[in-house]
Amino acid sequence: MKKTLSIFIIALIASLAFIACNDESDETLNSDPITGTWKLIAMHTNGQETPVSECGLMETYIFGEEQFSHELFNGSDNDEGEDEGEDESDDENDASENDETEVDDTPEMDDTPESDENENDDESDDDPENGSNCTSAGATVGFWSTQDSQAYTLTSAGGNTELVVYFENGGSRFYYDHTVIENGQEVTLRYYFQKQ
């Protein structure tokens, strides 16, 4: 009996001794705060809130572990503004300015930034049956890098762009400033993005 018990114990202990635990093999996501999907929720011009059209509010940044994409949307009566690669900031400027001049009486669409349907909007952005006339002006795709999680270098087919972002609300929102000359005067445009 003692011999059989000892064999039993040896077998159990041996099985434990052979166990080699594997580390969790899943890669951990990049912990940079910019990682994620961000949608435009507001715009300020020289500190004053500026209305943004329904199509303008569909502007989206997606930051992955190494790459980013930036997608703009146009209304049905605006087929221009599709300079994708030349200058990142010019693209945003053109789209935003066009959006400002549009009358915001487009058909009802839930464009609340916090709405869960924003993700679905990505899927149906080419779908004329989603209740809006917004169509994608194309997406700029490239690689991003940063040294300090504030100044980001965005490299796309059109070249490099520097984006200095400021995080708010515990990292769930960021904004960046873009200065343009309008009628000989400096105008600061501030774009707020909310994490989805």
Binding site: M1, F18, G64, E65, Q67, S69, H70, T140, V141
Partner: protein
């Protein structure tokens, strides 16, 4: 390892025959004695299970993508006593699965060009096409979204028969078996024979079994590689991809995608030959153990033809919505699919050696301890350990509950690398996470009911036992699953 194996087999054989020479059963003489039927009456087992799985490392997606899968199975096993000594067992069943992963062999939705035709609709089920096409825009797909092509579901049908003959003294049993199974892209024919000898007052059993499976793939390749195989370097302007924009890593249109590493498999056979040794020993009145040693050789097409591989030293190309390129490997990717560089390539042969040990101990009238351990090694570099314990607890004469736990740890095959980590100069490569390094924990339990008087009867059969079993399985690479099984045994 080979020398150790030989040493063990030698000791194993000596031990077995040492047991055998201690006593010579009286029934080896020519004297006629009463012999009990091997199987008194026909027994019917009905088994059924439902399995549901989720994960994030789809092999069809080259190591990334959803692994959602459901599988419903049912089997009927009929054991028929032909006479006092012979039993015929027939096992027939099916397994119907739906897999988001295999649906992405052709992962593309939408499009209004020739690309809207869904390759892979090999069951001529055109209704799916009409329902799913968006009829505008360019095709798109995602390893995180299940395409609804016909490859998403399949049914495996199988049948097998085993004939066993026992000697008059019931100390020698030989068996012969044959089997066949078929699913759309794979069919199998198997056969085998076995011999078991009991001695030492049936306290010791030695068995040897040989089996062979002669299988055949019907290779199905990922859409982009299938088209390249058909049209060669002009494939982007022909067939499925005619008029479909291909994007580079920057989301820009490109005509540079050329998966030159791909070539269709010329040999679609897969053969498996195995030799199994078993040794069981009653150690004490309450303790018995068995050792199993298998030697298995596989040869032929051991790769899975539709499992993608991506090379780190090759540029990436996509079809679909470029804004999702940055989040390709996460579930946020809702509309872009990366085009494969090749399918997995594995060696044309594989030599496997698992060794298992079972130890069962009757602790008392309420508790039994069932334990199992297995060490596995093969020449692909894969090593694993399995350990499980089951603790049946008897609740009266008819009911038993049994919690169980199983631990498994595996070291990756030499040919495995995660998504987009292989290099084009490698000879063999796979991103199938089933061959990666991981640990798994499986826990669950079951409940069984036994009625030796078969009070519940259907036609001529009485229910002898009913068993329901549930377990949850988790792997350290985020794959998890649940399975529930019901087993009913009826006797005539």
């Amino acid at each position: 390892m080979g020398k150790h194996l030989l040493l063990f087999a030698l000791l194993f054989t000596i031990t077995a025959f040492a047991q055998g020479t201690d006593t010579i059963p009286a029934t080896d003489s020519t004297e006629v004695v009463f012999k009990k039927r091997v199987l008194e009456t026909t027994e019917v087992d009905i088994l059924s299970s439902y399995y549901k799985q989720q994960g994030i490392h789809s092999a069809v997606g080259g190591g990334t993508g959803t692994e959602e899968l459901t599988d419903a199975t049912a089997d009927i096993i009929i054991a028929i006593p032909l006479n006092d000594d012979n039993v015929l067992t027939v096992d027939a069943g099916f397994s119907a699965y739906t897999s988001a992963s295999s649906g992405n062999i052709n992962p593309f939705f939408g499009g209004n060009t020739g690309a809207s035709r869904r390759y892979g609709n090999f069951r001529d089920d055109d209704d799916d096409d009409d329902d799913d096409d968006d009829d505008y825009g360019t095709p798109y797909g995602s390893p995180w979204v299940a395409s609804t092509g016909a490859s998403q579901k399949d049914v495996l049908t199988s049948i097998s028969g085993t004939f066993s003959h026992s000697s008059d003294d019931r100390n020698i049993v030989w068996t012969a078996n044959a089997s066949g199974s078929i699913e759309y892209d794979y069919h199998s024919v198997g056969f085998g024979a076995g011999l078991a000898k009991l001695f030492n007052n049936k306290n010791t059993e030695v068995s040897v079994k040989a089996n062979a499976y002669l299988d055949k793939w019907k290779p199905i390749y990922p859409t982009e590689l299938h088209e390249y195989g058909l049209y060669g370097s002009d494939f982007l302007t022909n067939g499925y991809f005619n008029g479909v924009p291909v994007l580079d890593q920057y989301g820009e249109g490109s005509s540079s995608y050329l998966p030159t590493a791909f070539r269709p498999f010329t040999n679609s056979n897969r053969n498996s030959y195995s030799l199994s040794f078993g040794f069981s020993q009653v150690l004490t009145q309450k303790l018995q153990a068995s050792i199993f040693l298998d030697v298995l050789l596989q040869e032929g097409l051991l790769s899975t033809p539709y499992q993608r591989v991506y090379f780190a030293d090759r540029a990436n190309y996509y079809i679909g919505k470029p804004q999702y390129i940055p989040v390709y490997t996460s579930a946020e990717n809702k509309g872009v699919y990366k085009l494969a560089d090749d399918v997995e390539r594995l060696p044309g042969n594989r030599f496997k050696v698992p060794i298992g040990l079972r130890l069962n101990y009757y602790a008392n009238d309420l508790h039994v301890v069932r334990t199992y351990y297995r060490y596995y090694t093969d020449d692909w570099g894969l090593r694993s350990h399995t350990a499980s314990v089951e603790l049946p607890v008897k609740l009266g004469q008819r009911f038993t509950v049994y919690p169980m736990y199983r631990f498994y740890t595996q070291k990756a095959s030499d040919h495995f690398a995660p998504h987009d980590k292989h290099y084009s100069f490698e000879k063999y490569y796979t991103s199938d996470h089933d061959l990666s390094s991981f640990d798994s924990h499986q826990y669950g339990g079951g409940f069984s009911y036994t009625d030796i008087f078969q009070s519940f009867r259907i036609l001529y059969f009485g229910l002898k036992s009913a068993d329901i079993r549930f377990s949850h399985y988790e792997r350290s690479d985020s794959l998890s699953s649940n399975i529930i099984t019901i087993a009913l045994k009826f006797v005539q």
